[in-house]
Amino acid sequence: MADVDDERIRNSVENLGRVVVAFVSEFGYYLALVYESFYWVVAGPFKRQPVRFAAAVSQMVEVGIAALPIVFVLSFAIGVMLAIQGVHTLKQFGAETQVVLGIALSVTREFGPLITGILVAGRTGSALAARVGTMQVNQEIDALRVMGINPVRYLVSPVLLAMLVMMPAITLFSDLAAMLGGAVYCNAGLGLGYVAYWDQGTAFITANDVMQGLLKSMVFAVIITLIGVSNGFSVSGGAEGVGRATTRAVVLAISYIVLADMTFTYFLNR
């Protein structure tokens, strides 16, 4: 009896150990990937392997511009929802007009970056994992390496640059779209004029609030890129493997984004 218990404890400790080792090694891999991506941006030109500006720009279009319509729709809807909930809550205190403060603060600090992060994780994170994973399966990554083209420099660095530029830009766009959504509802529901809404909103929020959101979005940019790419690189086992990596990339990226967001919010608001 004692032997069985012993073995069970030993097994669970062993499993815990495995999980911890797997987590630490994956985290270490992310850090190495970040380092290598930035290394090529800085040192590439001296090693005759510059990061192509054109590749980064085309990624910016892909990551940023192409995402604008859906970002607008979702952010606008979030703005309307915030306005509805805000008015409903504040009505109990007879303070409906304060709703603008609630919308402006929660959008710039929280919902703008979060909705953008989740959306880009779904669009770009999955696309990265699928693209890199398919290249891995088809030996295209090997082909790049034997041609003397570093895959991280060629595939990852341009995306990371593009993401770091575009994520804050889309987040700002998302902030504005959500504010507009709130304005439309306030105008229809409370009869609040657009100019008055804008004046109230901008009077409350500071540059710091907006910067907090943009800073978060840059962290999300790194998270999405790394998780997408590293899951792509680790694909094995054909088409099914690519599918698994893509799913894993999206789920992990969104989870890490929400956790990072919580951590950030906690520390930035102490």
Binding site: M135, D142, A143, V146, M147, G148, I149
Partner: protein, 264 residues
């Protein structure tokens, strides 16, 4: 020690996890020679190729390409070596998001400062070499298997490398396309004096193009020799491969039992 070999492998030992894949491989390939690496599935021939390409780090031993030990060279030296290597992968491994022409220009674009029109001309020249003239604007997905392999070959030779590596060049091709590819390999060696390493299990094409053949089995070299030496070899396993005979390994009853019960 002879340093005139284009490719020289000494005492190469490699593992995949705890499993030993290659064991004490010694191989020397002369400049301008076509060396065929032959063996059944799981013999380690693909692994040997991947090590020659510098895609894996061996457990021990050395691999010298053009006199430089790739297990010890600096990244910059490896980078220079890579511009002297061309590789044609089994599935072609063309970048699927680029046209055929862009694929072939890729090494030029990354390693040279040639202008756009020169790169275009060079890519078209190489496409002519592999009989794919006029196909540069198609996407890889629009090509047949044989065309993809030839396009991949055009990309492999666009930098005029000194060494050319093929992984299963005739796998998945019809006999005519396979034979054309063999002719192309011979033509390349004769016109450009390349050192060529081909990994294959296709006997016919091996005998047609080989200067020498190395036969691998279970991670060990059975023999290295000319076509006739291999054909006349008295080693049973070599004759099995040549005559498409099933292997007649004796089954060890105890080991068999252990494998079945999962106790190893």
């Amino acid at each position: 020690m002879n340093t005139d070999f284009a490719i020289q492998v000494e005492d190469l030992v490699t593992h995949y996890g705890p499993v030993k894949i290659l064991d004490q491989i010694n191989l020397a390939i002369n400049p301008g020679e076509i060396m065929i690496i032959m063996g059944g599935s799981g013999s380690g021939k693909s692994t040997l190729l991947r090590h020659l390409l510098g895609l894996h780090t061996p457990t021990s031993g050395s691999i010298k390409l053009l006199g430089k030990d790739i297990t010890k060279v600096s990244p910059t030296e490896m980078h220079d070596l890579r511009t002297n290597m061309g590789v044609s992968f089994q599935g072609g491994a063309l970048i699927s998001s680029m046209t055929v022409g862009e694929n072939i220009q890729l090494p030029l674009r990354e390693h040279t400062k040639l202008d756009e029109s020169t790169m275009g001309i060079m890519a078209r020249m190489k496409l002519e070499v592999v009989n794919l003239g006029g196909f540069e604007d198609l996407m890889p997905s629009q090509l047949s298997g044989g065309m993809i392999k030839r396009a991949a070959l055009a990309r492999a030779i666009v930098m005029d490398p000194k060494m050319l590596f093929f992984d299963e060049p005739s796998a998945g091709l019809d006999p005519v396309a396979a034979s054309e590819l063999d002719d192309l390999i011979l033509k390349l060696r004769d016109s450009m004096k390349m050192t060529i390493v081909v990994v294959t299990h296709e006997l016919e094409s091996a005998f047609k193009i080989a200067d020498r053949i190395t036969v691998l089995d279970h991670g060990k070299i059975l023999l290295t020799g000319s076509v006739s030496e291999v054909k006349n070899s008295s080693i049973a396993r070599v004759q099995d491969l040549l005559n498409r005979r099933s292997r007649h390994d004796q089954i060890n009853a105890d080991e068999y039992m252990d494998r079945l019960t999962g106790e190893t």
